[in-house]
Amino acid sequence: MSLDARVRLSRGAIDVDVSLRAEPGQVIGVLGPNGGGKTTTVLALAGILRVAEGHVRVDGQAWDDGRRALPPEQRTVGLMLADSLLFPHLTALENVAYGPRSRGVDRHRARDRAREELGRVDLLERASSRPRQLSSGQQARVALARALATDPSLLLLDEPLAALDPDTRARTRSDLATRLTAYGGITVLVTHDPLDALTLADHLVFVEDGHVTQSGTPAEVLSEPRSPYVATVVGLNLYAGEGDSRGHVTTGEGGVVVTTSPTEGRVWATIPPSAVSLHLHQPEGSPRNTWRLRVASVTVQGQSARVGLVGALPVTAEVTLESVTALGLQVGQQVWAAVKATEVRTYPR
């Protein structure tokens, strides 16, 4: 079972052109800003939308070649959308048993299977509730169970964990991880949660404005983001610039970043927020990057704080709460930011 798809179609304001490729057992994490075309891609894979051009091939079989398309019920696909879309007149159990029943499993075994799946999302005791009697998170869990109950060769999950509480989410995430490694199908997982993507996916695809802006393993993406959006997701400061042989990178806005690992030509440069130190006066000593910037925002996050800085370069710094207090950081204040040249990574654009 392998997936080879190129989805081209236009949808509302944007033209979507997304290629996906996966080997059996792989989990593809699809990320991207709202309205980028992630759901559109998923719907095309499921056969609910048809590709205008391109193709969807699973295991060599053409599900859609731009001219003829298999209807969804002839694709072995499992779908869970962000809206849980349970059948309102069926109980939770009947909802989950619907897939196996439709695929010819007898009533008894379908119900057993449904009970098993409901158990896995911890909802066995609500088996005979109707969707309207369930909370949103419970509904999402039933929808997930329903999508998993047909053992699809292509499992499409569109923000499956968004409505779950952290506890259930953690459990579902690890259960999902177990299930996904256990079965040979391919999973396409659309998510906004980097943690989901990083822990569940073998391969990440970033879709922005209908196009793939970056794809690769989580490690590749974490170390070398290639779009500002990806950088936000992985939590790095990212700059597009021109690098010279001395290790100077000049960004579009005129800022200069110095690195000890020079790359020449059009480059990306990254700085981890935790590598940024803040000072009230221009720091003396080793850091070769020092900029005078203005504090735009301070967000406390657990034991540390993220400080948004603007000026010649926009920089996000991550500092301890003590630093915030010690520096008396306030929005609008001028501070010096310093980064050691060894912390700056560059790679070709």
Partner: protein, 261 residues
């Protein structure tokens, strides 16, 4: 979730609703008030009443069944088509409502009669439709089915298309989706469509009399009997009408009360 309404709101909605109810209910009330209740039992004991009641109930049940079996698929096609011709087809379906019933009967004769468009091909096989109970059912179906189809189509258009998408990814073809999700979800629409169609069929008069004739026990339904009695003794006709009302209110009240909520 019900809210305590405000006075002004109650008034702004209650007054027109009350007027509507008045327009519909006052004539019925008048009929009941003016009826000669003492005579009703005797009037209903007339030997013609029971066969007509029986015939009315059988033929309208057949009509309801035809609507359900044939009308539901038609409604489905109409609901999911977005072809521009659909709205014309839908308009065409309302024609039997517009046609003066007698003309409707004439049209039915022209279609199914001995020399009719289809009837002339049936006659050689000894199949003769006019003047039979089948003709009553055909006439009732002709006038009643449009109500059913239009009501059900409306309900089907209201379905969330994404539920069908999900059902199909779960492996359900169109038929299975319809049977297990589509139809159960429009059941209220189907029930109200059936109620409309059944009631219309029960009251059907013009097309039946023209197409099926007026033969006791075979084609004389209650409305036909009412008409005939109107010539002879209007009081009897009113008594029978009141029974007709009672039957319909009873059937609809009981069935809908059971099926809906």
């Amino acid at each position: 979730m019900r809210y305590a309404g405000r006075w002004r709101t109650r008034l702004a909605l209650g007054v027109p609703a009350g007027l509507a109810l008045l327009l519909l209910v006052v004539p019925l009330a008048a009929l009941l008030v003016r009826a000669d209740w003492a005579r009703i039992p005797a009037d209903l004991a007339t030997p013609t009443v029971l066969p007509a009641l029986r015939l009315s109930l059988t033929t309208t049940s057949c009509t309801a069944a035809l609507c359900l079996l044939l009308g539901t698929p038609l409604a489905w096609f109409l609901a999911r088509s977005d072809h521009p011709a659909t709205s014309w087809l839908r308009a065409l379906l309302t024609v039997p409502l517009v046609l003066p019933p007698v003309v409707g009967g004439v049209a039915l004769l022209m279609a199914w009669g001995r020399k009719g468009l289809l009837g002339q091909h049936l006659a050689p096989f000894g199949v003769q439709i006019p003047f039979t109970t089948v003709a009553v059912v055909l006439a009732e179906t002709f006038v009643a089915m449009p109500y059913y189809v239009l009501a059900v189509e409306g309900a089907m258009r209201g379905l969330d298309a994404r539920l069908e998408s999900v059902a199909r990814t779960l492996g359900a073809g169109e038929l299975r989706y319809l049977r297990t999700v589509g139809i159960p979800l429009v059941l209220p629409g189907i029930a109200s469509g059936l109620a409309l169609a059944w009631a219309r069929a029960l009251g059907e008069f013009g097309a039946t009399i023209t197409f099926a004739g007026n033969f006791q026990g075979r084609t004389q339904t209650l409305p036909l009997l009412v008409y005939v009695e109107l010539e002879r003794d209007p009081q009897v006709a009113i008594s029978i009408s009141i029974m007709l009302l009672a039957v319909s209110v009873l059937v609809l009240g009981v069935l809908r009360g059971r099926w809906l909520r």
